[in-house]
């Protein structure tokens, strides 16, 4: 399905097509190709058909729904009542959510059709989906390569036409990096814009839900549905949400776009660097003024992030103990049961982060690590605020390289480096997205793989961000220049 959400909703609302036939088509496509992609951990066929009936009924009754009949894939760290919600972890492999996340509920209420739950790095910790304990997801543009992560399943599902839109969660780059790897649009709104209620937490102060789509317009459409204050999430912000769909523009006249001095001096593979240089020229060609800005503390982003995020995760994941739900491995007493359950239930990366976080919060180390990291976080946010005095948006790479081969990043640090350009943005809570910006031949490959341009806006400036991204996307049309590697599968 290479249609847009905007097009499907228009058809369904006008009763040119039924949600039911679209749902059936989507499910059939998943049946045909997901064996090769592995985007989904759980299919929700029955729910999809049930919801399609409901949507057709509502449309027949005269309602117009923003996402009428649009097939949506849901990252499997968001609760959907009655459906297995695993976080890609053995510890929750059989857990059925008894309630629905606010963002998911808003999508369903707007008429979207949930077709399945997508794979992810365990508890959203990773940049390749390889940390999932429950399945392998392949990049639709090269099945030997990773889709990125942590929201790799959602990115791959949209890229392969197994869904029209998808939800992701981004803590340090988990929407933007896989979007770049899979040649789709991935958008992380301002921290607090979209309710986290029902999103299984990795790092609460950083986690943010956002959409994957094949166009900026579709991403804007989804954002307009899911954004806004939720009484069930105390950190969701009560700032009026203005429709971004009305803010899409065709050029960039009058916009000052910052290019980060510290980022341009960093070594990217030459073929990749050339794509970004061309992208910045395109921005200029569309009327933007490029200005050099400085983020002197951004280089501390990774170190800061890998104290704060593990600290929060060490506490957030404490609840997975075998007492009330999820995996339980019995032991002689309750302590042994805890130990065995968590030893068997969590993968290596999750354990690593729990240990780092526990250490960072321990008495005697708290000030040196956690408190210091929070101070640096404040400085990074201040650097961005200062940079935004000189520009309206910032442009940067969305990832440090194109999609890499499976098992290519054997040490954790080289994996962490993939998010070098996205992590400082997350620490500052800013809205940012990745939009396809061309392709480059990876150093370990022969065929070009997609790249993403990251655009970053000041807090709550989602309209400006999506508006500019739309202009760039429409003028360059990079997404359509590459075709997914699905030989033998009819579109």
């Amino acid at each position: 399905m290479d249609e847009t959400a905007v097009g499907i909703a228009a058809d369904v609302n006008a009763r040119r097509r039924s949600a039911r036939e679209i749902a059936e088509e989507a499910l059939e496509r998943i049946t045909r190709i997901d064996g090769r992609i592995g985007a989904y951990l759980t299919r929700t066929d029955a729910l999809a058909l049930e919801q399609a009936e409901r949507v057709d009924g509502r449309v027949a009754a005269g309602e117009r729904l923003a996402l009428a009949g649009v097939p949506v894939a849901i990252k499997d760290n968001m609760c959907l009542r009655g459906t297995r919600t695993t976080c890609g972890s053995k510890i929750l492999a059989d857990w059925v959510a008894p309630y629905t996340a606010t963002a998911v509920a808003r999508l369903l209420d707007a008429g979207a059709i949930p077709v399945g739950k997508t794979n992810l790095d365990e508890f959203a910790m990773g940049s390749s989906c390889e940390n999932s304990a429950l399945g392998v997801t392949r990049n639709p543009y090269d099945l030997e390569r990773v889709p990125g992560g942590s929201s790799g399943g959602s990115a791959a599902a949209v890229a392969a036409g197994e869904a029209v839109i998808a939800t992701g969660s981004d803590t340090g780059g988990s929407i933007r990096e896989p979007a770049a790897f899979c040649n789709v649009v991935g958008f992380k709104p301002t921290y607090g814009r979209v309710s986290r209620y029902g999103l299984i937490a990795f790092a609460s102060s950083l986690d943010q839900i956002g959409p994957f789509a094949r166009t900026v317009r579709d991403a804007a459409l989804v954002y307009d549905v899911i954004a806004g204050k939720d009484p069930l999430d105390a950190t969701s912000v009560d700032v009026p949400v203005e429709r971004t769909l009305d803010a899409l523009r065709e050029d960039l006249h009058g916009l000052r776009i910052g290019v980060v001095k510290e980022f341009t001096t960093r070594t990217l593979p030459p073929a990749v660097a050339e794509v970004y240089a061309a992208a910045y020229r395109d921005l200029e060609r569309l009327g933007a003024t490029l200005v050099e800005v400085s983020l002197p503390t951004a280089d501390y982003g990774l170190a800061t992030y890998y104290l704060i995020a593990p600290a929060e995760c060490s506490s957030n994941l404490a609840r997975f103990d075998g007492v009330r739900y999820g995996l339980r491995v019995d032991g002689a007493d309750v302590t042994e049961m805890y130990e065995r359950t968590r030893a068997a239930g969590f993968g290596a990366e999750v354990k690593r982060r729990i240990l780092i976080g526990t250490y960072a919060l321990s008495s005697g180390y708290y000030d040196a690590y956690y408190v210091k990291a929070q101070k640096v976080r404040t400085l990074i946010a201040a650097d961005f605020a200062k940079a935004f005095e000189a520009c309206d948006l910032i442009a940067a790479p969305a990832a440090s390289s194109p999609a890499f081969r499976f098992n290519a990043k054997s040490d954790p640090y080289s994996m962490y480096l993939m998010d070098y350009y996205t992590i400082p943005v997350s620490l500052a809570g800013l809205p940012a997205l990745s939009v396809p910006c061309g392709a480059a031949v990876p150093e370990d490959g022969r065929a070009p793989m997609p790249l993403g341009l990251q655009l970053i806006a000041p807090l709550f400036e989602e309209r400006r961000l999506l508006g500019a991204a739309h202009a760039y996307e429409q003028a360059t049309q990079h997404a359509s220049k590459l075709k997914p590697q699905l030989a033998g599968v009819s579109a």
Binding site: Y197, A234, T235, R319, D321, V323
Partner: protein
């Protein structure tokens, strides 16, 4: 260590005690979700994704609970910082759904303040508060299969999460308490203050007040602090008194026999009435407190504080001082009234109407409270108006009725309401003080009891009271008993 230190050894030491009290707040709903805050109920019926700590659920603070804690602080003159926050206290326990408790670490809702209280002998004390903070309660474990409900030897444990997430206020005192009796006095002060301000029901038997004590001893005259132990599991005021008393004894025994106190946490056993080691200092948890990223900082405005301060009524201690120092009531009377605010209000209106606080207290705590107990109707809810009781006091004062008739009038007021004066008039209950009328009653009685009169003349004085009683009976209680006695004496001796 069964020997009990002799009184003169004990007199060489004083105890230094600080208390940590956990008080469940009286709110409609739990601290961070919309579940009802109810005691008891079928296990796991007052639960939702939030208080069960299900994956993805998030806390939203209960504003009312924040208000109640700040009111508790204001009641004791605490400072209310304009900024506060919630922190996570991390430790694993099966009845704690998230394996962290949302609590407050370094920025509690209130700081400082003083709890003033009195002891049974009327002496007054103060204990400074360190802080009051707000947190969530845990669930409750039941250990099955061991027969005695203990975890050791049990086959399995059941957890009820109805209590999980109930708002819990922790009041931490400075070590200003010097005896087990003072500890109980302090707790009673907290209890009556929180109950009367609607902050908590404070039912120790339901666990809505739980208390831990930090206890150390030192030689009288010393200002240094000794090594302290922490006592847990005290489930009633009586067990607080006994546990602290027992711990003081234990520490004196150790020091007297040349030993050293070990810093540790000890549990109180209701059955053996002794404390036992629960964990040593080395086993103390590292709670890894950090600000809860799911909750935003709390800002308390001066307007909030003033609004809440204005809603506080007169506090029990101030009332107690007024009753004892200004009204001259006994400690027991004042305590009884202070602990029953609606009765105290009734008393105050009676005292104001009669201008006789002592007389008012006597009637309110005497005849009226007796009728209240008998009928199950509170004095304040009865048909009796304070003004009517004031009339009774006035009628007795003017000797229009005697105290016996007064009881009768009160009983009529209880069943009918209305004015005491009208009742007295309507029923002709006014005391007969007219000598001519009294003489008729006296003569009648003397005629019927000549032998007793003769005995009295012969020196058997005790017959006189019998005759007075007979005259009262003949007059149906209305005769002025003093005048009757004088008249009888005069008539018998002059006969």
């Amino acid at each position: 260590m069964t020997a009990v230190a002799s009184a003169d050894i004990r007199a060489k030491y004083e105890a230094v005690i600080g208390l940590e009290c956990h008080v469940e707040l009286k709110t409609e709903t739990k601290m961070f979700c919309g579940c009802r805050n109810l005691f008891g109920g079928e296990p796991n019926t007052q639960v939702c994704p939030v208080c069960l700590g299900l994956p993805g659920a998030l806390p939203v603070p209960n504003r009312r609970a924040i208000e109640l804690v700040i009111k508790a602080g204001l009641a004791f003159g605490a400072q209310i910082p304009s900024f506060s926050k919630f922190d996570r206290k991390n430790y694993f326990y099966p009845d704690m759904p998230k394996n962290y408790q949302i609590s407050q670490y370094d920025m509690p809702l209130t700081r400082g303040g003083v709890v003033r209280f009195w002891l049974a002998d009327g002496s007054r004390r103060e204990c400074r508060l360190t802080r009051i903070h707000l947190e969530e309660d845990t669930g409750k474990s039941t250990h099955a299969g061991s027969g005695d409900g203990r975890i050791a030897g049990s086959e399995y444990s059941l957890v009820d999460f109805n209590r999980a997430g109930v708002p819990l206020m922790e009041c931490v005192s400075e070590p200003d308490i010097r005896s087990a009796e003072e500890a109980v006095g302090f707790l009673e002060a907290l209890k009556r203050t929180f109950v009367q301000l609607g902050i908590s029901d404070v039912k120790m038997e339901e666990g809505s007040l739980r208390c831990d004590a930090n206890v150390s001893i030192r030689r009288i005259g010393s200002t240094a602090l000794g090594t302290k132990t922490e006592i847990k599991n005290m489930n009633s005021f009586k067990s607080v008194q006994r546990a602290i008393g027992s711990e003081i004894e234990r520490q004196i025994e150790i020091v007297e026999s040349g030993g050293r106190i070990v810093q540790e946490t000890r549990g109180w056993d209701e059955v053996t009435e002794t404390t036992h080691v629960m964990r040593s200092k080395e086993q103390a948890h590292d709670y890894r407190y950090f600000p809860d990223p799911d909750l935003t900082p709390l800002e308390i405005t001066p307007a909030d504080i003033e609004r809440w301060r204005a809603e506080l009524r007169e506090l029990p201690f101030a009332r107690f001082e007024r009753y004892v120092d200004r009204f001259g009531l006994s400690v027991a009377q004042a305590t009884q009234l202070v602990d029953n605010p609606s009765l105290a209000d009734f008393f105050e209106r009676t005292a104001a109407a009669s201008n006789d606080p002592q007389g008012s207290a006597n009637y309110v705590l005497g005849e009226l409270s007796r009728l209240a107990n008998e009928t199950g109707v509170a004095v304040a809810d009865s048909k009796v108006r304070p003004e009517a009781v004031a009339e009774v006091i006035e009628l007795v004062g003017a000797k229009t009725i005697n105290s016996k008739i007064a009881k009768d009038v009160i009983a009529r007021l209880w069943s009918e309401g209305g004015s005491a004066k009208e009742i007295v008039e309507r029923a002709g209950l006014a005391q007969v003080s007219d000598p001519a009328a009294l003489e008729r009653f006296v003569d009648e009685v003397l005629v019927a009891n000549e032998k007793i009169a003769a005995d009295i003349r012969g020196g058997k004085e005790k017959g006189l009271q019998f005759l007075v009683g007979q005259v009262m009976k003949t007059s149906r209680g209305k005769a002025n008993p003093k005048m009757v006695e004088e008249l009888l004496r005069k008539k018998i001796t002059s006969a």
